[in-house]
């Protein structure tokens, strides 16, 4: 069996989720838009899922829009609000951070290049934290939207969302948070001061191809997908009934079990960090404590990430890397670079993300196997990177 430590990429579907979904694949297959018994039963299922999700995040059912992915929710949130407000003449300035997921960054870039919006990308500190003051100082007369992620997918840093949300509210700017990785955190939108919040199913032991956008009542927003007017006109297309039911169930389980699971995973996470830090010249990327309970991200100096990854894979360990070679762009991770570390070190980053089935044995296996791989690859590497005082790096070839 593989030692799967890539839960931030995808999770297995929880048995209980699958069981609920099966019913809506085989028996309750109707179209929620149909005026017949089978269709109405499907509609009932979607309504119930919506109520369930609303209850969990402290919203009203009408504020829940089911979508096809986290990426789609983000596109709807950003393009939807930006276009609605541009039309009303309120402004064209958007604020986001440099460490957002590409779904946010590329959507903002698109609006900048194609639709005349202006975007400010707020930087982060060495641990990946956005400073709320920086967000506040970036607000201008014509700022219409702030989008800051709840927790980072690569380095696990948890952002001060409540504070940023409070600032946005005070300054009358709409606030969206991408909470795709935050299924294990407090998702109460009232506490978070969020006007929009994105979630997706495949990171919380729900089905892939499912997502949700919370849209606070009264938020100006335009659809990006047009057609039959489903989801209160904001997301046309026949509802993915099994997906919606599965998503709601997955979120319910994740939030119900979150405190216990967070405690368990935090212990395992810290054990893994401790074990990895015993290897010479390893640095932790991200914040030591304001960190997702399941995220470990390290840079291993002198070595490139893909070769680490493939060696681990050969030992049955599935992890991921911010190395250029594992990205389609052939550029190292924008998140690790945003921390202010040189590209040489971003190339050697390695991410382990723990999950429900992760046990102490998995952690022990990584800690046992990795030092030998590192040693072997270092013997093969002509590069020596020294970490000097004041956090400077010296690269020798």
């Amino acid at each position: 069996m593989e030692t799967y430590l890539d839960h931030a990429a995808a999770t297995y579907v929880d048995e209980r989720v699958k069981k609920e979904m099966d019913k809506y694949c085989l028996k309750e297959y109707g179209n929620p838009g149909s005026f017949n018994t089978v269709g109405l039963r499907a509609k009932e299922a979607v309504d119930k899922a919506r109520e369930k999700v609303a209850g969990i995040i402290g919203a009203e059912p009408k504020e829940i829009i089911f979508t096809g992915s986290g990426t789609e929710s983000i596109n709807l949130a950003i393009k939807g609000v930006a276009r609605a407000l541009k039309k009303s003449g309120k402004g064209k300035h958007i604020i986001t951070s440099t460490i957002e997921h590409h779904a946010v960054l590329d959507t903002c870039k698109y609006l900048e290049e194609e639709e005349g919006f202006e975007v400010t990308y707020v930087g982060v500190d060495r641990q990946g934290l956005v400073n709320p003051n920086d967000v506040e100082s970036a607000i201008k007369e014509d700022t219409i939207l702030i989008s800051i992620m709840y927790a980072n997918n690569e380095i696990g840093t948890i952002e001060p969302i409540e504070e940023i949300g409070a600032i946005a509210r005070k300054r009358n700017v709409i606030f969206h948070t991408d909470a795709c990785q935050a299924g294990m955190l407090d998702l109460d939108v009232r506490k978070l001061n969020a006007d929009l919040m994105t979630l997706n199913g495949s990171k919380i032991y729900g089905p892939k191809g499912t997502g949700m956008l919370y849209v606070k009542k009264g938020t100006p927003i335009k659809p990006i997908i047009h057609g039959g007017g489903q989801e209160f006109g904001l997301r046309s297309g026949t509802e993915n009934v099994p997906g919606i039911v599965g998503f709601a169930k997955a979120l319910e389980i994740a939030q119900h079990e979150r405190k216990r699971e967070a405690k368990r995973l935090t212990k395992l996470r810290d054990a893994l960090i401790k074990g990895l830090m015993k290897i010479p010249k390893v640095m932790l990327n991200g914040h030591p404590t304001k960190r997702l309970p399941n995220n470990v991200n390290v840079s291993i100096l002198d070595i490139e990430g893909e070769s680490l990854l493939l060696n681990l894979n050969e030992h049955g360990i599935c992890a991921s890397s911010g190395s250029a070679c594992t990205s389609k762009s052939l550029k190292p991770s924008h998140v690790i670079l945003a921390l202010g570390v040189p590209a040489e070190i971003a190339h050697g980053s390695l991410r382990f993300t723990l999950g429900k089935r992760t046990t102490r044995r998995d952690i022990d296996k990584v800690v046992k196997v990795l030092p030998r791989i590192v040693e072997r690859l270092r013997e093969l590497s002509p590069v020596t990177i020294e970490l000097e005082e004041k956090g400077e790096f010296k690269v020798r070839i």
Partner: protein
């Protein structure tokens, strides 16, 4: 994934095998690289006739190549290398080292004609985006040969880097 309770034996799981992104030859070179130093101490002691380095760690690939030359025969008789980079970079340098040293070595003039495509062919192909990795191998070799020319006063033979 299947739960262990399902009755699937460990053997079954193993039989499914690990997935590998590149060709089988890349895998062989990556996990059992040829013509490498066992330790860095061994590298320090190696008496090379020419050494070449190309690439940049910031860009993600660095290769260093050492060659030994039989001056009389004008032939590369031994070579060693180190690579910082992904699997295809490591495998391509290893494959190049084999091309150079098999059958008792290679004439310098012939070695200078090695193209990236020759290395890629030896590896049984590489994904298109990875071609730049193997390009570095022949450049590192050319740098090492130029270094040898410089050290032996054959400056007229130095090939400009492209």
């Amino acid at each position: 994934m299947t739960k262990s309770k399902s009755g699937r034996s460990a053997g079954d799981v193993k039989a499914r095998g690990r997935k590998w992104f590149y060709t089988k030859t890349v895998k062989e070179h990556f996990f059992s690289p040829k013509n490498i130093f066992k330790t860095k101490a061994e590298a320090a002691k190696y008496k090379a006739d020419g050494v070449g380095v190309v690439g940049s760690a910031a860009c993600g690939d660095v290769m260093r190549m050492w060659i030994k030359v039989d001056r009389e025969k004008d032939k590369i008789v031994d070579c060693k290398w180190m690579t910082f980079g992904c699997a295809s970079a490591i495998a391509s340098t290893s494959a190049l080292s084999v091309i150079l040293t098999e059958r008792g070595g290679m004439k310098i003039d012939k070695a200078l004609r090695i193209k990236p495509q020759d290395i890629v062919k030896r590896l049984g192909n590489l994904p298109a985006v990875k071609f730049h990795c193997s390009v570095l191998g022949d450049q590192a070799l050319r740098a090492a040969i130029n270094d040898y020319f410089k050290k032996t006063g054959q400056t007229g033979r130095i090939v400009p880097a492209n």
